[in-house]
Symmetry: C2
Subunit: 117 residues, 2 copies
DNA sequence: CAGAATACCGAGAAATTATTCCATATACGA
DNA sequence: TCGTATATGGAATAATTTCTCGGTATTCTG
């Protein structure tokens, strides 16, 4: 496979373990999009995160399936159809995603002033 | 400079903003080490995080200073001495660090079983 | 005096991540 | 029939991040 993580997650330190599961560019956003527990199709997720290419979403979702954060269902139909759904393990990360989302909202203005636009 | 972030932080989405501040490999660990508010010297931080090279700690601390998460004091002495201290802004990230630390502790065993040691 | 410790930084190599482009196969609508 | 949508993934490239090595300068210890 072209994309294969050498060390899937970091087992040396609890903080690094958690970070290594979500630090890729779009994983936290994907968990946020999937938070309701509803099934979402790849094309739907791409519409929610248009800045990400379908390719990178595909790769990161695959890793998240492997790590147990989301499930994937493939419907044997044509045209092809598949769907992702957050698992209980993935849901247990949502409080962390929430706190990052809130922190970001509270401090966005500060960083816009500092770096920004 | 050799190491310069092209886009310092991600201003497009609150979640990405927060992530972009802490997603580098050692930043969350550095915040954790500095949490008490005490000053810590670079060599001291390296002793706490021996897996990281002094070089990468230096680079990531510099970015954290720029982002306002830590302060740096340089003492005009020889041999050279400097020290880092977490800022109020940095402290406001500690609840997030805590929740990641706790999640990691709770699920470490699961991932050790899964990906082995 | 030789060597370690101190902080820092440049340069290049290596590793990791992300992007871009192309190809597969099929059904549906214009 | 042609174009679009669908999901997926190979391959090459680009971008980013981290690692390794070496060099600066000075003090202190053995």
């Amino acid at each position: 496979m072209t994309y294969e993580k050498k060390i899937p997650v970091d087992l040396d330190c609890p903080l690094r373990l958690t970070m290594s599961l979500i630090e890729s560019k779009w994983k936290s956003c994907l968990l946020d999009e999937l938070r309701s527990g509803a099934e979402m199709r790849p094309s739907e997720l791409h519409k929610c995160l248009p800045e990400a290419t379908p390719r990178v979403l595909d790769i990161q979702l695959k890793e998240m399936v492997e790590d147990g954060l989301v499930n994937k269902t493939i419907f044997p139909e044509l045209p092809p159809r598949s769907a992702y759904r957050i698992t209980d393990l993935g849901k247990s990360l949502l409080p962390i995603i929430d706190s990052m989302l809130n922190w970001g909202k509270e401090h966005m203005e500060l960083f816009e002033k500092k770096y920004g636009r």
